[in-house]
Symmetry: C2
Subunit: 143 residues, 2 copies
Amino acid sequence: MAHKNPSPAVDIIIEMVDRPDRPIILIERLNPPYGWAIPGGFMDYGEPAETTARREAMEEIGLAVDLVELLQVYSDPKRDARQHTVSLVYIATAKGEPTAGDDAKNAKIVNVWELPNNLCFDHDRILHDYLQLRHYGIRPRVG
Amino acid sequence: MAHKNPSPAVDIIIEMVDRPDRPIILIERLNPPYGWAIPGGFMDYGEPAETTARREAMEEIGLAVDLVELLQVYSDPKRDARQHTVSLVYIATAKGEPTAGDDAKNAKIVNVWELPNNLCFDHDRILHDYLQLRHYGIRPRVG
Protein backbone atom coordinates (compact mmCIF):
# COMPACT_ATOMS: atom_id res chain seq x y z
CA MET A 1 0.00 0.00 0.00
CA ALA A 2 1.23 3.47 -0.82
CA HIS A 3 -0.57 4.90 2.20
CA LYS A 4 1.91 6.05 4.85
CA ASN A 5 0.84 5.09 8.34
CA PRO A 6 1.79 6.20 11.81
CA SER A 7 3.64 3.42 13.66
CA PRO A 8 1.73 1.72 16.47
CA ALA A 9 3.63 1.11 19.69
CA VAL A 10 2.82 -0.14 23.17
CA ASP A 11 3.93 1.36 26.49
CA ILE A 12 3.38 -0.33 29.84
CA ILE A 13 2.88 1.05 33.33
CA ILE A 14 4.01 -1.88 35.47
CA GLU A 15 2.90 -1.96 39.12
CA MET A 16 5.08 -4.09 41.41
CA VAL A 17 2.38 -5.80 43.43
CA ASP A 18 4.82 -7.59 45.74
CA ARG A 19 5.91 -4.27 47.31
CA PRO A 20 4.08 -1.82 49.58
CA ASP A 21 2.16 0.93 47.72
CA ARG A 22 2.48 -0.72 44.29
CA PRO A 23 5.48 1.24 42.97
CA ILE A 24 6.05 1.30 39.20
CA ILE A 25 8.99 0.57 36.90
CA LEU A 26 10.93 3.16 34.92
CA ILE A 27 13.72 2.36 32.50
CA GLU A 28 16.66 4.43 31.34
CA ARG A 29 16.76 4.30 27.55
CA LEU A 30 19.82 2.88 25.80
CA ASN A 31 18.95 4.62 22.50
CA PRO A 32 17.86 8.20 21.69
CA PRO A 33 15.94 9.93 23.02
CA TYR A 34 18.01 9.32 26.17
CA GLY A 35 16.43 9.57 29.59
CA TRP A 36 13.83 7.80 31.68
CA ALA A 37 10.57 6.34 30.40
CA ILE A 38 8.08 3.60 31.03
CA PRO A 39 8.94 0.35 29.19
CA GLY A 40 7.57 -0.18 25.69
CA GLY A 41 8.27 -0.59 22.00
CA PHE A 42 6.89 -0.90 18.50
CA MET A 43 4.29 -3.49 17.55
CA ASP A 44 5.51 -6.12 15.12
CA TYR A 45 3.40 -6.91 12.08
CA GLY A 46 1.15 -9.87 12.94
CA GLU A 47 1.48 -9.34 16.69
CA PRO A 48 -1.52 -8.40 18.87
CA ALA A 49 -0.90 -5.40 21.13
CA GLU A 50 -1.18 -7.51 24.28
CA THR A 51 1.63 -9.72 22.98
CA THR A 52 3.78 -6.68 22.27
CA ALA A 53 3.24 -5.52 25.84
CA ARG A 54 4.30 -8.86 27.34
CA ARG A 55 7.24 -9.21 24.94
CA GLU A 56 8.60 -5.72 25.59
CA ALA A 57 8.31 -6.14 29.36
CA MET A 58 10.24 -9.41 29.16
CA GLU A 59 12.90 -7.94 26.84
CA GLU A 60 13.43 -4.67 28.71
CA ILE A 61 13.04 -5.65 32.37
CA GLY A 62 12.99 -9.45 32.34
CA LEU A 63 9.62 -9.83 34.04
CA ALA A 64 6.35 -11.53 33.02
CA VAL A 65 3.48 -9.07 33.33
CA ASP A 66 -0.27 -9.49 33.75
CA LEU A 67 -2.19 -6.88 31.78
CA VAL A 68 -4.87 -5.09 33.79
CA GLU A 69 -6.41 -2.59 31.40
CA LEU A 70 -5.86 -0.13 28.58
CA LEU A 71 -5.29 3.36 30.01
CA GLN A 72 -5.55 5.37 26.78
CA VAL A 73 -4.09 5.81 23.30
CA TYR A 74 -1.69 8.71 22.68
CA SER A 75 -1.38 9.75 19.05
CA ASP A 76 -0.27 13.39 18.90
CA PRO A 77 2.13 13.49 15.92
CA LYS A 78 4.54 15.64 18.00
CA ARG A 79 4.79 13.19 20.93
CA ASP A 80 7.77 11.39 19.36
CA ALA A 81 10.33 13.49 17.46
CA ARG A 82 11.58 10.46 15.51
CA GLN A 83 8.33 9.71 13.69
CA HIS A 84 4.58 9.69 14.19
CA THR A 85 4.03 7.01 16.81
CA VAL A 86 0.66 5.92 18.19
CA SER A 87 1.14 4.57 21.70
CA LEU A 88 -1.30 2.13 23.29
CA VAL A 89 -0.69 2.43 27.02
CA TYR A 90 -1.51 -0.56 29.22
CA ILE A 91 -1.51 -0.89 32.98
CA ALA A 92 0.01 -4.18 34.15
CA THR A 93 1.26 -5.90 37.28
CA ALA A 94 4.42 -7.88 37.98
CA LYS A 95 6.38 -9.44 40.84
CA GLY A 96 10.09 -10.02 41.33
CA GLU A 97 13.26 -8.14 40.46
CA PRO A 98 13.48 -6.20 37.21
CA THR A 99 16.72 -6.61 35.26
CA ALA A 100 17.50 -4.10 32.51
CA GLY A 101 17.93 -5.66 29.05
CA ASP A 102 17.53 -4.98 25.33
CA ASP A 103 16.81 -1.25 24.86
CA ALA A 104 16.97 -0.51 28.60
CA LYS A 105 20.26 0.61 30.20
CA ASN A 106 18.81 0.66 33.71
CA ALA A 107 15.54 -0.23 35.39
CA LYS A 108 14.34 1.15 38.70
CA ILE A 109 11.32 0.80 40.94
CA VAL A 110 9.80 4.15 41.90
CA ASN A 111 7.04 5.12 44.30
CA VAL A 112 4.26 7.00 42.55
CA TRP A 113 4.84 10.05 44.79
CA GLU A 114 8.49 10.18 43.70
CA LEU A 115 8.12 10.12 39.91
CA PRO A 116 10.77 12.28 38.20
CA ASN A 117 9.86 15.11 35.87
CA ASN A 118 11.10 15.38 32.30
CA LEU A 119 10.52 11.83 31.27
CA CYS A 120 11.00 11.00 27.57
CA PHE A 121 8.27 11.50 24.97
CA ASP A 122 4.90 12.38 26.60
CA HIS A 123 5.41 9.99 29.50
CA ASP A 124 4.91 12.82 32.04
CA ARG A 125 1.41 13.27 30.66
CA ILE A 126 0.76 9.54 30.50
CA LEU A 127 1.74 9.08 34.15
CA HIS A 128 -0.36 12.10 35.13
CA ASP A 129 -3.34 10.44 33.44
CA TYR A 130 -2.48 7.16 35.16
CA LEU A 131 -2.46 8.77 38.60
CA GLN A 132 -5.81 10.46 37.93
CA LEU A 133 -7.25 7.00 37.28
CA ARG A 134 -5.35 5.23 40.07
CA HIS A 135 -6.11 7.79 42.77
CA TYR A 136 -9.48 9.23 41.74
CA GLY A 137 -11.02 6.79 39.24
CA ILE A 138 -11.02 9.49 36.56
CA ARG A 139 -10.31 8.13 33.08
CA PRO A 140 -8.35 10.21 30.53
CA ARG A 141 -10.56 12.35 28.30
CA VAL A 142 -10.45 12.10 24.54
CA GLY A 143 -10.01 15.28 22.50
CA MET B 1 12.57 2.33 8.72
CA ALA B 2 12.71 -1.26 7.56
CA HIS B 3 10.41 -2.34 10.38
CA LYS B 4 7.01 -3.39 9.04
CA ASN B 5 4.16 -2.07 11.14
CA PRO B 6 0.52 -2.92 11.52
CA SER B 7 -1.69 -0.11 10.15
CA PRO B 8 -3.56 1.95 12.74
CA ALA B 9 -7.21 2.72 12.00
CA VAL B 10 -10.11 4.30 13.83
CA ASP B 11 -13.69 3.04 14.04
CA ILE B 12 -16.53 5.05 15.54
CA ILE B 13 -19.71 4.01 17.31
CA ILE B 14 -21.93 7.04 16.73
CA GLU B 15 -24.94 7.51 18.99
CA MET B 16 -27.71 9.71 17.55
CA VAL B 17 -28.58 11.75 20.61
CA ASP B 18 -31.48 13.59 18.94
CA ARG B 19 -33.52 10.36 18.76
CA PRO B 20 -35.15 8.23 21.46
CA ASP B 21 -32.94 5.45 22.85
CA ARG B 22 -29.74 6.76 21.25
CA PRO B 23 -29.66 4.52 18.16
CA ILE B 24 -26.30 4.09 16.36
CA ILE B 25 -25.13 4.43 12.76
CA LEU B 26 -24.10 1.56 10.49
CA ILE B 27 -22.74 1.98 7.00
CA GLU B 28 -22.80 -0.36 4.02
CA ARG B 29 -19.28 -0.58 2.63
CA LEU B 30 -18.58 0.48 -0.95
CA ASN B 31 -15.32 -1.48 -1.11
CA PRO B 32 -14.42 -5.04 -0.06
CA PRO B 33 -15.10 -6.53 2.36
CA TYR B 34 -18.72 -5.77 1.44
CA GLY B 35 -21.41 -5.61 4.08
CA TRP B 36 -22.35 -3.51 7.10
CA ALA B 37 -19.95 -1.97 9.56
CA ILE B 38 -19.50 0.97 11.88
CA PRO B 39 -17.87 3.98 10.18
CA GLY B 40 -14.08 4.29 10.22
CA GLY B 41 -10.85 4.32 8.28
CA PHE B 42 -7.08 4.41 8.37
CA MET B 43 -5.13 7.06 10.25
CA ASP B 44 -3.11 9.39 8.06
CA TYR B 45 0.52 10.04 8.95
CA GLY B 46 0.65 13.20 11.07
CA GLU B 47 -3.00 12.97 12.09
CA PRO B 48 -4.07 12.42 15.72
CA ALA B 49 -6.58 9.59 16.17
CA GLU B 50 -9.31 11.98 17.31
CA THR B 51 -8.92 13.91 14.04
CA THR B 52 -9.17 10.68 12.05
CA ALA B 53 -12.41 9.87 13.87
CA ARG B 54 -13.97 13.26 13.08
CA ARG B 55 -12.72 13.21 9.49
CA GLU B 56 -14.01 9.70 8.74
CA ALA B 57 -17.42 10.48 10.25
CA MET B 58 -17.68 13.60 8.10
CA GLU B 59 -16.53 11.78 4.96
CA GLU B 60 -18.66 8.66 5.37
CA ILE B 61 -21.89 9.99 6.88
CA GLY B 62 -21.63 13.76 6.58
CA LEU B 63 -22.00 14.48 10.30
CA ALA B 64 -19.84 16.28 12.86
CA VAL B 65 -19.28 14.04 15.87
CA ASP B 66 -18.36 14.72 19.49
CA LEU B 67 -16.02 12.08 20.86
CA VAL B 68 -17.10 10.63 24.20
CA GLU B 69 -14.48 8.03 25.05
CA LEU B 70 -12.18 5.30 23.79
CA LEU B 71 -13.94 1.91 24.04
CA GLN B 72 -10.94 -0.34 23.37
CA VAL B 73 -8.21 -1.17 20.86
CA TYR B 74 -8.63 -4.26 18.66
CA SER B 75 -5.40 -5.62 17.25
CA ASP B 76 -5.86 -9.32 16.48
CA PRO B 77 -3.91 -9.82 13.23
CA LYS B 78 -6.81 -11.92 11.86
CA ARG B 79 -9.48 -9.25 12.40
CA ASP B 80 -8.95 -7.78 8.91
CA ALA B 81 -8.18 -10.21 6.05
CA ARG B 82 -6.58 -7.44 3.95
CA GLN B 83 -3.72 -6.65 6.33
CA HIS B 84 -2.89 -6.36 10.00
CA THR B 85 -4.99 -3.42 11.17
CA VAL B 86 -5.06 -2.02 14.70
CA SER B 87 -8.43 -0.41 15.32
CA LEU B 88 -8.92 2.32 17.93
CA VAL B 89 -12.66 2.30 18.64
CA TYR B 90 -14.25 5.52 19.89
CA ILE B 91 -17.76 6.18 21.13
CA ALA B 92 -19.16 9.47 19.82
CA THR B 93 -22.42 11.38 19.57
CA ALA B 94 -24.05 13.23 16.68
CA LYS B 95 -27.29 14.92 15.67
CA GLY B 96 -29.01 15.29 12.31
CA GLU B 97 -29.39 13.15 9.22
CA PRO B 98 -26.54 10.92 8.07
CA THR B 99 -25.80 10.95 4.34
CA ALA B 100 -23.66 8.17 2.90
CA GLY B 101 -20.48 9.38 1.17
CA ASP B 102 -16.89 8.41 0.35
CA ASP B 103 -16.43 4.71 1.20
CA ALA B 104 -20.03 4.29 2.36
CA LYS B 105 -22.73 3.14 -0.08
CA ASN B 106 -25.53 3.47 2.48
CA ALA B 107 -25.92 4.71 6.03
CA LYS B 108 -28.68 3.70 8.42
CA ILE B 109 -29.72 4.43 11.96
CA VAL B 110 -30.29 1.27 14.01
CA ASN B 111 -31.67 0.69 17.49
CA VAL B 112 -29.20 -1.18 19.67
CA TRP B 113 -31.68 -4.04 20.15
CA GLU B 114 -31.91 -4.47 16.37
CA LEU B 115 -28.24 -4.74 15.43
CA PRO B 116 -27.68 -7.18 12.56
CA ASN B 117 -25.36 -10.16 12.88
CA ASN B 118 -22.47 -10.82 10.53
CA LEU B 119 -21.07 -7.34 10.40
CA CYS B 120 -17.72 -6.88 8.62
CA PHE B 121 -14.38 -7.44 10.36
CA ASP B 122 -14.80 -7.96 14.13
CA HIS B 123 -17.54 -5.37 14.44
CA ASP B 124 -19.93 -7.92 15.99
CA ARG B 125 -17.46 -8.29 18.85
CA ILE B 126 -16.86 -4.54 19.08
CA LEU B 127 -20.59 -3.84 19.36
CA HIS B 128 -20.97 -6.62 21.92
CA ASP B 129 -18.26 -4.93 24.00
CA TYR B 130 -19.96 -1.56 23.48
CA LEU B 131 -23.29 -2.87 24.77
CA GLN B 132 -21.61 -4.39 27.83
CA LEU B 133 -20.28 -0.93 28.65
CA ARG B 134 -23.44 0.96 27.68
CA HIS B 135 -25.87 -1.31 29.53
CA TYR B 136 -23.85 -2.61 32.46
CA GLY B 137 -20.82 -0.32 32.84
CA ILE B 138 -18.46 -3.24 32.16
CA ARG B 139 -15.36 -2.25 30.20
CA PRO B 140 -13.80 -4.67 27.68
CA ARG B 141 -11.07 -6.85 29.19
CA VAL B 142 -7.57 -6.94 27.79
CA GLY B 143 -6.03 -10.32 26.93
